[in-house]
Amino acid sequence: MEVNQYLEMFIDESKEHLQACSEHLLELEKNPQDLAIVSEIFRSAHTLKGMSATMGFEDLADLTHKMENVLDAIRNEKISVTPEILDVVFESVDHLEEMVQDIASGGDGKRNVQATVEMLKRIESGEELTGTTAVPLAANEQAATSIVSAEWKLEYDDFEKTILHQSLEQGFNTYEISISLREDCLLKAARVFMVFEILEKNGDVIKSSPTVDKLEEEQFDSEFHVAFISKETADDLQKMLLKVSEVEKVEVLAIDPSVFREAKGEILPQEALPSEPETAEPVSEEKQAGGEPEKKPAANNAKSHAPAASKTIRVNIERLDVLMNLFEELVIDRGRLLSIAAEVNHGELSETVERMSRTMGDLQNIILTMRMVPVETVFNRFPKMVRQLSRDLNKKINLEIIGAETELDRTVIDEIGDPLVHLIRNSLDHGIESPEVRRQQGKPEEGTVQLRAYHSGNYVFIEIEDDGAGINRNKVLTKAIAKGIVSKEAASSLSNKQVNELIMAPGFSTADVISDISGRGVGLDVVKTTIESLGGNISIESTQDIGSTFSIQLPLTLSIISVMLVEIEKEIYAIPLSSIIETSIIRQSDILNAHNQKVIDFRGKVVPLIFLEEVFEVPRTKLDEDEFHSVVIVRKGDKMAGLVVDSFIGQQEIVLKSLGNYLTNIFAISGATILGNGKVALIVDCNALM
């Protein structure tokens, strides 16, 4: 199938557009009057509709179309924004996301959305769903017509007015240009093309009448109008345009957007329209519908809205992995070159190798940062989630996101989504109190949950802070004792921090009522385990009645980790530093026997010894009973163990690699790495040993 090759792109772009829809919807909820936002949503929905129809996902296209109709009505001020309408639109976006998800996982994107479609239809026809349908607007349409001066040939919607206004503020001139071709002009489309070429070289066309499509198909008499922003003067523009042959007359009029601002909220007279009603849509959208690339509108927006977005390309993550592999090969060869250069003692060679090393250092940084993704990709689904949850819970909650641009390795990003969802749900459900309780306590009714991400050293911190109830020490302790997590005697001696950590113990759940949101039995212990398996850790700060902060520390990347290299006979193994407490040399006589298990007394604690040569069945050539043993003390949660090895080699940063698809589930081995000498070393999975 030809379509297949576009499927991935389609899914990616659909997700982006849906994300844009959700974000803008949330914005719209805060500023229901801002019709520019509606236009943005409309634009995304419109593109999505076009794409899904092209790809043959009828249901997706259909629902988007219905949603678009509603948006269009809002945009044209036929209906006004109410929370009820937004709910339905949100619901539609949810459905659309599910559909895209289904398509991504190989389905056909079909889904029963009858109820939502009904609602959309009712909204569109202005039925009593909302109670506050803006009927009076229709009357306005007839009334206020006199403000607009007759010379304007074009009609602008709010979005276009905003662009014109902003362009003017940014020092651009705004014009309305009327161009008449000669009656006997033979190649009207060609002339139009030439005119547009000149215009686009000198500025941006905001809209045209008739639309660009119609112009290209020569569906106009001899005159057409464009709205145009440019730095050029009217005279220059006129001269340039008159250079196009067969152009008879060019009129360039400066637009004063204040005219439009006065007229804001009022619909311009229909009579001013020279042609079809489609002209109401901006040029850019016509282009999108025609399946053309999106470049033009993006450029327009960039100029008039925000600073230009940086240029990016999509690269398959596998390619980056290959690049990384090849680079590691280079690193190994560099090692060889360095030793050869040292051996032959050749000045120029050493110098060249030295310089190459530096370049490669830079290259390594670039390759590593290429694999980094902003946490935004995880965070951006939360605002909608919080909105929905706070409604379900009847709480008022404001989610603040800080540092969404913080970058993390792709491998980590893929894993932290679920733990974060869990923590946020937890804060919303157990943290933030109901509005009544908050009022009683003299807090603002609206609770705040702050999601923060920032870099510090080789780690990324993600914190979730709420200004809710905090952790109730007594409640937690009572529960923990009841569930047998701690004994009564031990409970009283626990520090606050230790009590806080109890809520992440397996089998703990404090919610009095098991709600749908959190407390389904899979508690915070799952979050803790997941985060620890990523090489990170989680801690809790909490003050009762003031709030709690969950702080997650994550390594920047999972593909490069710090390890301690150890040797057993001739074999080299890597032990992740994240599980190591310390290393120590012990005497044979320090080893004690307890229940057939060799143990040592390590700082007052009894620590079992694990002889790695036995676990890994290392072939011994000679048996030597050493007086001393090298021991690496590792931990998993509260448990500790001492791994006995022959010798320590040292600490090193290594690149984590999998053993491939043939060797899976090797006991106590979590992966492999390639050492500087080109040999493979295995990475010890300490968790499996304990």
Binding site: L659, F667, V680
Partner: protein, 148 residues
């Protein structure tokens, strides 16, 4: 026409193992490497020699002699590792030597007669006669999957 010709011949890599010659279609072969350092992986079947660093990719190595129950080779001078890709698995086979690349006629391949005996035969998918040589075609799936 070209299709018919292509189908009539199979291009194979021929390698030596003890006194016999074996063949693997080149379509599965990713490369032939000289013997290099192999890192032993604990708790794996005896025929899994370990893993090598194949240009940055950690690749498991199977000793075909051990897999077929043959005694280990003394002289490692000519030993080669043939890198095979089967579906999503990339694996290296240790062989005594890599001898040849040949086109063999599909028609000349005979199905292996059902003989129950040494485990060696379990891995054979067919036999091709070529002049005076007898080439044994390996059944890669069976070589890679543990026998039930």
């Amino acid at each position: 026409m070209t299709n018919a010709v292509e189908q009539a011949y199979v291009k194979v890599i021929v390698f030596q193992l003890a006194d016999k010659e074996y063949a693997i279609p080149v379509s599965y072969v990713r490369g032939i490497e000289k013997l290099m350092h192999i890192t032993r992986v604990p708790k794996t079947p005896h025929y899994v020699k370990g893993v090598i660093n194949l240009r940055g990719v950690v690749t498991p190595i199977i000793d075909l002699r051990a897999r077929f129950g043959l005694p280990a080779l003394e002289n490692e001078e000519t030993v080669r590792i043939i890198i095979i890709q089967l579906e999503d698995m990339e694996v290296g086979f240790i062989v005594d030597s890599a001898n040849d690349v040949l086109d063999i006629e599909s028609a000349s391949i005979e199905q292996q007669p059902e003989v129950v005996g040494s485990s060696e035969e379990d891995f054979i998918s067919g036999v091709a006669k070529l002049d005076k040589r007898l080439l044994i075609l390996l059944h890669l799936d069976k070589v890679l999957n543990p026998l039930g």
